[in-house]
């Protein structure tokens, strides 16, 4: 249990998707204009990563990994399909995003309206595929660990985008040198935030 909590904290703070791996930067920079929309996108990303990482974990462990097909019979024990993982992961993500969109539309129209335009965009958010690939590389042992990892990664991403947006909203009132306005300054702020987040490294809960 403590182990899982530690995993969560580590992925939110020290191994933050944005500040340590720069994943999902494109939508992070494009959407971080108002706090409300970035909240919406953040929640959508948490949701999608928490669902897709465990599904991809199942794919990895029962389909792709060397020897993963053992459950089909001894003849398949040698098969290694891991070269297909990019294709399968991205297909799972695109399909899950579509599925989530349909379920949310049917069951929670209010949430659907809030997430609306962001859900389809998430299929090509690098953070989602990145989480699946890191899950594969780090070889998480159980599906619970994979789920906690996914939730932590998504939560860290959402936290980062909300923080950056709040700062950018305030910056509208400051006098910035013209060539630095907008994108340039957004990068520098993200860099400074990343330095701040490095202060969390080595934390053990």
């Amino acid at each position: 249990m403590e182990n899982l909590f530690d995993l969560f904290i580590r992925n939110v703070f020290t191994e933050n998707m944005i500040f340590a791996y720069f994943l999902g930067m494109c939508s992070y920079l494009a959407v971080s204009k108002t706090v409300k929309t970035s909240m919406g996108l953040g929640i959508a990303v948490i949701f999608v990563i928490t669902v897709t990482v465990p599904v991809n974990w199942l794919m990895e462990n029962y389909l792709l990994k060397a020897g993963a097909l053992k459950w089909l019979g001894p003849a398949f024990a040698e098969v290694d399909l891991s070269f297909l993982s990019f294709l399968l992961f991205i297909a799972v993500i695109a399909a899950m995003v579509q599925l989530i969109e349909m379920i949310v539309e049917k069951t929670a129209p209010a949430l659907y309206n809030a997430l609306g335009i962001f859900l389809p965009l998430i299929a090509v958010n690098c953070a989602v595929l990145g989480a699946a690939l890191f899950m594969q590389e780090r070889e998480y042992g159980t599906i619970v660990e994979a789920t906690v990892y996914g939730f932590g990664a998504g939560f860290g991403w959402a936290l980062a985008i909300v923080v950056l947006t709040a700062i950018r909203e305030k910056l509208k009132y400051s006098n910035v040198p013209p060539p630095l306005r907008g994108l340039g300054l957004a990068f520098i702020i993200t860099g400074l935030l990343a330095i701040a987040f490095m202060g969390f490294s080595g934390i053990k809960v």
């Binding site: 500040f19 340590a20 720069f22 994943l23 297909a91 090509v124 040198p177 306005r181 990068f187």
Partner: protein, 204 residues
């Protein structure tokens, strides 16, 4: 002339990273040293050029409702080819790039150019546009990695360029440069410089 523009425009006025804000994720993570950055840049040029070409060839037959899936499959297929080639010929670099080769699939440059250009233009023009945008991306990658490797480890392409006599009189490598945050700050400064010289890019 028009074709030349397709290649040259993305290098400066419409640079995918500093102006269109596409494909930033990988640009920052692979630039600690020059070698992986150059390999990454070449891989992206290959994938953008050929995915643009393939999608442009099929642009009249792809049903618009499922175009995103079709684009993703074409891109994923090309990335798998590139990944296998890298693993076969430059294994150590491919290990260093780790997940970032796979992440070319969701590199926004690809989807951005496929949607904005290849779906509406002839194959040859799309191919050149792909090369141009890949090169614009590569240019920033190389600039960033040169700065980071030179200041952070005192070497270029893995060879030491800061002479030993400098270290003896007290010169030190800036360890900050190889950490993730400095990638962000350095690219911020590159954007600042570019917009300082090219003032029409300044945001209001």
């Amino acid at each position: 002339m028009k074709n030349l523009k397709l290649i040259l425009n993305p290098l400066n006025d419409e640079n995918p990273i500093t102006v269109q804000v596409l494909g930033i994720c990988s640009a920052l993570a692979v630039t600690v040293q020059m070698k992986p950055a150059i390999v990454m840049a070449l891989s992206v040029i290959v994938v953008t050029a050929f995915s643009n070409l393939i999608i442009s060839l099929g642009r009249n037959t792809i049903p618009p409702r499922i175009r995103i899936i079709v684009q993703l499959v074409v891109v994923a297929f090309l990335v798998i080819v590139v990944d296998q080639v890298l693993k076969a010929y430059v294994y150590d670099v491919s290990k260093k790039l780790s997940v970032f080769v796979g992440l070319i699939i969701t590199n926004c440059i690809l989807m951005g150019r496929l949607e904005a250009f290849a779906m509406a233009n002839k194959p040859w023009a799309s191919f050149l546009d792909g090369i141009g945008n890949g090169a614009g991306y590569g240019l920033i990658l190389v600039a960033l990695s040169t700065l980071r490797e030179l200041l952070g480890s005192g070497s270029l392409m893995g060879y030491q360029v800061v002479p030993d006599s400098f270290y003896r009189i007290g010169y030190m490598d800036n360890g900050m440069m190889i950490l993730p945050p400095m990638a962000l700050i350095t690219i911020g400064i590159i954007i600042w410089l570019q917009r300082g010289f090219n003032r029409k890019l300044i945001e209001k």
